[in-house]
């Protein structure tokens, strides 16, 4: 079970890096992505490569199990490990879907207006799902209510009315992985002033998500 997995980097240009991850490292990356996604108030960057590699990993393990001797103790232990990995992966994907459904107009708007180089927060399959969810809901509301309303009231901008935005001011717990200096903390009330803090490696903090959102994306901090 210690074969290394080949994992090609995200961009598809000619000089893309090849990062070789051991299965253990891959699962650790999955768990980190899972925890970040669970605790972040908004939908985070899509980690399709991790998902793909973990699915492959699970297939590998299934293969090995089929070939193994029946009654071998290793079988139970590996099966247990597979269940654990499958739970984390499912939980991660579920968490993302739930956020997509919860904030769909804002997420789709962001997708439309995001530039070429910007990393998408949706995988291609998630984008399809999000668009279908929006179309389904819009059609339903139109047919059941809106089209029976006075003409000047038939268009409801779902973006502004029915669906709330993620609360980026909510507080999150984090652990610092890479030392950060001079993080600007904006005041919450008019009486406070903004101030600057340093984040020491290994330290843990309770802080407003908006302040450290880019650090989650870069991997400098881990939400816990």
């Amino acid at each position: 079970m210690t074969e290394e997995l080949d994992h090609t980097g995200q961009d598809s240009d000619a000089d893309s890096e090849e990062v070789v991850l051991t299965p253990a490292e891959l699962i650790e990356k999955l768990e980190q992505a899972w925890m970040n996604e669970k605790f972040a108030p908004e939908l985070l960057e899509s980690k399709s490569e991790i998902v793909e590699c973990v699915m492959e990993q699970l297939d590998h393990m299934e293969e090995n199990l089929r070939r193994a001797k029946k009654g071998d103790l290793k079988v139970s232990i590996h099966r247990m490990e597979m269940e654990r990995i499958r739970y984390v992966l499912s939980s991660y994907l579920r968490c993302r879907l739930m956020k997509i459904e919860k904030f769909f107009p804002h997420i789709l708007e962001k997708e439309k207006t995001s530039g070429e180089g910007e990393l998408s927060s949706l995988s291609p399959e998630e984008l399809v799902f999000a668009k279908q969810y929006m179309a389904n809901t819009e059609t339903y509301l139109k047919n059941v209510a809106l089209k029976h309303m006075p003409p000047n009231l038939q268009v409801v901008d779902l973006l502004r009315s029915a669906v709330p935005k993620p609360d980026l001011d909510s507080y999150v717990f984090l652990r610092v992985k890479e030392r950060q200096e001079n993080i600007l903390v904006e005041p919450e009330t008019d009486e406070q002033r903004d101030y600057v803090i340093d984040l020491e490696e290994g330290s843990q903090h309770l802080i407003r998500y908006k302040t450290i959102a880019p650090l989650v994306a870069s991997g400098a901090v881990q939400l816990i």
């Binding site: 103790l73 247990m80 499912s90 994907l93 879907l97 389904n136 029976h148 006075p150 009231l153 009315s161």
Partner: protein, 171 residues
């Protein structure tokens, strides 16, 4: 007072605890839409009076009716959308076949929305790689058994127990 029926719809859902889906209040919704139609028509005629007859004293009433129209719409959309959220939760709770009791509480259009949602979810799950994709509506709880109850000869397990891989469960 205007918007009373609309408020009633919202209250109805507010009273229903999470996970519960009361019967679709078709009558209630119809009444809200009818009130909206009446308000709109009254406003239309008053606007004409203002334009042609110079009755600017009607303007406050027109504004008031417009606010009521907006409120009615907001309540109606909130009612319908909140129900969709509850119905969506049912897919995750009960699977793709809903118990009859719940289905009877849904309007035909809601059933259609649900079917579209199911399909969309299934397509997404299938796309997750592998032969059949990944059914993420399973594995909702972390695997409970940290220890597997095995009846194995002691000599096979001894080493692994000492390594901390297995625990001897006495039951």
């Amino acid at each position: 007072m205007f918007c009373e029926k609309a408020m009633e719809l919202v209250r109805e859902l507010h009273r229903a605890p999470e996970g519960q889906l009361p019967a679709f209040n078709e009558d209630g919704l119809r009444q809200v839409l009818e009130e909206m139609k009446a308000l709109y028509e009254q406003n239309q005629s008053d606007v004409n009076e203002v334009k042609s007859g110079g009755r600017s004293d009607l303007i406050p009433t027109i504004k008031f009716r417009h606010c009521s129209l907006l409120r009615n719409r907001r309540c109606a959309v909130a009612y319908l959308y909140d129900r969709l959220l509850r119905i969506r939760a049912l897919r995750w709770e009960y699977g793709s076949v809903l118990p009859n009791a719940l289905r009877f509480h849904m309007s035909a259009e809601e059933v259609e929305w649900f079917n579209h949602y199911k399909k969309s979810l299934a397509t997404y799950m299938r796309s997750l790689g592998g032969d059949e994709g990944l059914d993420i509506t399973q594995d909702m709880k972390p695997p409970k058994s940290l220890y597997i109850e095995h009846f194995l000869p002691r000599w096979k397990c001894e080493q692994l127990v000492r390594q901390g891989v297995l625990e001897h469960v006495l039951s």
